[in-house]
């Protein structure tokens, strides 16, 4: 039998090394991909449920507007408040919380979205860069802000007066 030449052995060795490296890389890639895929799956679930919840928020807003608009009618108020409460209960079970915010709170872009500025008089100047009115409530889940609270922010300048 003919002896294999040195060159061809070296060539084969190189090829072998290259294949092994490729194989190891592919295997590592696969394992990493699987791990990443698991994480991505979890994120996707979270993202999908957030998307579904977001779709329902305008209905919750409308119930809020309805409450505001029926202050004169006690019976209607009670009915709407009950429905809203059912809705909020269901959202709470899904881990959704309303962002607590009231007039005078410092404006915080991590939770609030400024829709407009309100010029302040000298007496109100303490409300500068603070929330002066909540337009639409915001909501969070454990991991993210679903929707920032839409607010009016106070602005005091000497020229306001």
């Amino acid at each position: 039998m003919e002896e294999p030449q040195k060159d061809s052995i070296q060539e084969l060795q190189e090829k072998c090394d290259q294949y092994l490296a490729g194989w190891q890389r592919a295997k590592a890639d696969l394992i990493n991909f699987q791990k990443e895929e698991e994480r991505r799956f979890e994120t996707t679930i979270l993202y999908s449920s957030s998307q579904i919840i977001k779709e329902f928020l305008p209905t919750l807003d409308s119930l809020g507007f309805a409450l505001e608009s029926t202050k004169e009618n006690e019976a209607a108020q009670k009915g709407i408040a009950t429905i809203k409460s059912q809705f909020v209960d269901a959202l709470t079970k899904m881990g959704v919380k309303e962002i607590p915010v009231k007039k005078g709170d410092e404006f915080d872009p991590t939770k609030h979205e400024a829709m407009m500025q309100v010029p302040l008089s000298e007496e109100e100047k303490d409300l500068d860069n603070k929330v002066v009115e909540v337009l639409v409530p915001g909501y969070t889940t454990a991991s993210q802000v679903l929707r920032a609270t839409k607010v009016k922010v106070g602005m005091f300048t000497e020229n306001n007066n």
Binding site: G22, L30, F65, S69, T70, P109, A114, N129, L135
Partner: protein, 643 residues
């Protein structure tokens, strides 16, 4: 080597993507969004905020919220565009000592590169958090019309952000890369980019140029660009809002255009309606308690059709096509010279735009990739090329067509689907279709049609020696294994006896391109009809199984089953049997349902604690095809085998 990220540094929004084993992937930012507003601000508390947070506080802080910096980067202050833009930009801009542009943020005057660097720093940090590793290199995308100075400034911004910028590439080129259109030589490509605020159109040519080693390489050349810096999807939203305000005034006689909250709700509803009308023909705008007057609260409910939306924005679409024609002319081509059209930008989701393009060019535009992400995806592809991910030495093939076996009723059951990367292996368990069946025939097929007889036979073999047992009890494990060379090994093993048979098929992937194409076309042409045939078989199989289970339940129950139930079940069995012999599927389904209900009564009639409840008294859900699957021929064989 760390990953090279691709960055689409947009005028309004930015995106990041990276090349992975499975292909390019968009990376979400720390807020969980796939795009990041290209905004930077110095908040009133003196904190630098970037992206969504900067956007949320923009109204309260217009002087220190910097956006659209892409309109200024790398330009001279004296530039006409800069002079025109600074008229409407709310922050202060001045001439730098080198004639460039400086922007005031807080007390500091910053170069436009520094502002862009802040956005890039956030994108880099978000990418690192998502990838769990350090990111040091990037490919950044710029508009094709950017000159050297604008490109250099963008590169500098990257370097300030701590990124080694491997290459600055053009937006349309990135779009072509995303679709892999950079390889087809001598092609002319139009990239139609209709974003939120700007419209850009480019004509590209893929030409063969001499590479470093003297070989001919493909290169994407930008032949001409054009657009309108103030035409975009925002104009569409505006048109919808104006229409809704007018409609509401007509409906209720109230002008809500000065009611800030109502207008804000209307704006959101308009955006939602626009998105919905991309997929449906009609949508409802429903805004209860939008306002109130002396008579009490007022509501706004209106239906809007896709046709109405198209009527509102028709002029704008036509205008974009006029610009497109001009750019094609500037490139020295005519519309008929264009081989490919790529749609970029969220607004191109609108069916009217897609239709207009199709009609204008007489061909289908490329649509597969999310139009908001095409450019970042292309940047990731370029990053992957640098990284070597795309030029993998280990080339893996895919199965061109599905392979599987024939199962009960002549149905083709796929084990390995088409386009599966090989080597690949798949095992499924099947069973017998008749009582005491001692052999099964494994009919190996290839193709995309639903019925076995319409596909190509690759091999047939028989596994015998299965110990006699009721149907569905034996477990036959069928394994398909395709190696890297496309050689298919099929084996069948009876789990009880351990008996195995196998076959090796050399040419499972060696069909010619034409043959594969023809088979795929056949499948597409017959899809509906095949689906119906398959459904018919499945309904009949389920009915047959239900009859079997019902008869067995009656037999097992024996005397314990009350006479009236027994006769009712028997009657329903014969109704189903006669329905099954006909071809009216609805009748079979109805008879199955009736028998199903009736047979439940057997279980209910047995007293609790009965020592011997009839086996299978309640019908099980029809087993999936792959668990009870056996072909008709197998059934026949078993009949003869058991005689």
């Amino acid at each position: 080597m760390s990953k090279i990220i691709g960055i689409d540094l947009g005028t309004t929004n930015s995106a990041i993507a990276v090349m992975e084993t499975a292909g390019p992937r968009i990376l979400e930012n720390s807020e969980g969004n796939r795009t990041t507003p290209s905004m930077v601000a110095l908040s009133k508390g003196g904190e630098k905020v970037v992206g969504l947070l900067a956007k949320r506080q923009a109204v309260t802080n217009p002087k220190n919220t910097i956006f659209s910096v892409k309109r200024l980067i790398g330009r001279k202050f004296s530039d006409a565009t800069v002079q025109s833009d600074i008229k409407w930009l709310p922050f202060d801009v001045r001439e730098a000592s080198n004639g460039g542009v400086e922007i005031k943020m807080g007390e500091e005057w910053l170069k436009s590169e520094q502002i862009s660097a802040m956005i890039l720093t956030k994108l880099k940090a978000d990418a690192e958090a998502k990838l769990g590793e350090k990111v040091e290199e990037a490919v950044i995308i710029v508009p094709a019309y950017f000159d050297d100075s604008q490109r250099q400034a963008t590169k500098n911004a990257g370097e300030i952000a701590g990124l080694k910028v491997r290459r600055i590439i053009n937006e349309p080129t990135a779009a072509a890369l995303a679709y892999g259109l950079n390889k087809n030589k001598d092609e002319q490509i139009v990239v139609y980019d209709f974003g939120g605020g700007t419209f850009d159109v480019s004509v590209l040519e893929v030409a063969g140029v001499e590479g470093e080693e003297g070989n001919i390489e493909s290169q994407v050349l930008v032949k001409a660009t054009g657009g309108d810096t103030h035409l975009g999807g925002d104009d569409f939203d505006k048109a919808i809002i104006e229409y809704l305000v007018a409609e509401y005034k007509k409906q209720d006689g109230i002008d809500i255009s000065s009611d800030d909250l109502a207008l804000q709700r209307l704006k959101e509803a308009a955006e939602r309606a626009k998105h919905e009308l991309s997929t449906s023909l009609e949508t409802e705008i429903n805004l209860p308690y939008i306002t109130s007057d002396a008579s009490g609260p007022r509501h706004f409910l209106i239906k809007m059709t896709r046709a109405k939306l198209e009527e509102l924005v028709r002029e704008k679409i036509d205008h974009s096509l006029e610009i497109t024609n001009q750019v094609i002319k500037d490139a020295g081509f005519t519309v008929s010279d264009i081989d490919e059209i790529i749609l970029v930008g969220g607004q191109t989701r609108m069916p009217a735009i897609q239709e207009a393009i199709k009609k204008h060019f007489g061909k289908e535009p490329h649509l597969g990739i999310n139009p908001d992400e095409v450019v970042a995806t292309g940047a990731a592809v370029q990053g992957g090329i640098f990284q070597g991910d795309v030029k993998d030495v280990l080339l893996l093939d895919v199965t061109p067509l599905s392979v599987g076996i024939e199962t009960l009723g002549g149905v083709f059951t796929r084990l390995i689907e088409k386009n599966t990367t090989i080597p690949a292996s798949k095992t499924e368990t099947f069973s017998t279709a008749a009582d005491n069946q001692t052999s099964v025939e494994i009919h190996v097929l290839q193709g995309e049609r639903e019925m076995a007889s319409d596909n190509k036979t690759l091999a047939k073999f028989i596994l015998d020696g299965i110990p006699p047992a009721p149907r569905n009890v034996p477990k036959v494990e069928v394994t398909f294994d395709i190696d890297a060379n496309g050689i298919l090994n099929v084996s069948a093993k009876d789990q009880t006896s351990g008996k195995t048979q196998s076959v090796r098929i050399e040419a499972s992937t060696s069909l010619s391109k034409e043959e594969i194409e023809k088979l795929k076309q056949d499948a597409a042409a017959n899809r509906e009809e095949d689906k119906k045939k398959k459904e018919a078989v499945e309904v009949k199989n389920a009915a047959e199984n239900l009859i079997y289970v019902s008869k067995k339940a009656l037999a097992d129950g024996g005397e314990k089953v009350p006479e009236e139930i027994k006769s009712a079940v028997t009657e329903k069995i014969s109704s189903l049997e006669s329905a099954k012999n006909g071809s009216d599927l609805e009748a079979i389904k109805k008879a199955s349902e009736e028998l199903s209900k009736e047979i439940q009564k057997i279980g209910e009639s047995m007293k609790p604690g009965d020592a011997n409840p009839p086996e299978g008294g309640a019908p099980k859900e029809t087993p999936a095809q792959s668990t009870d699957a056996t072909s008709e021929s197998e059934e026949k064989k078993s009949d003869s085998g058991s005689e």
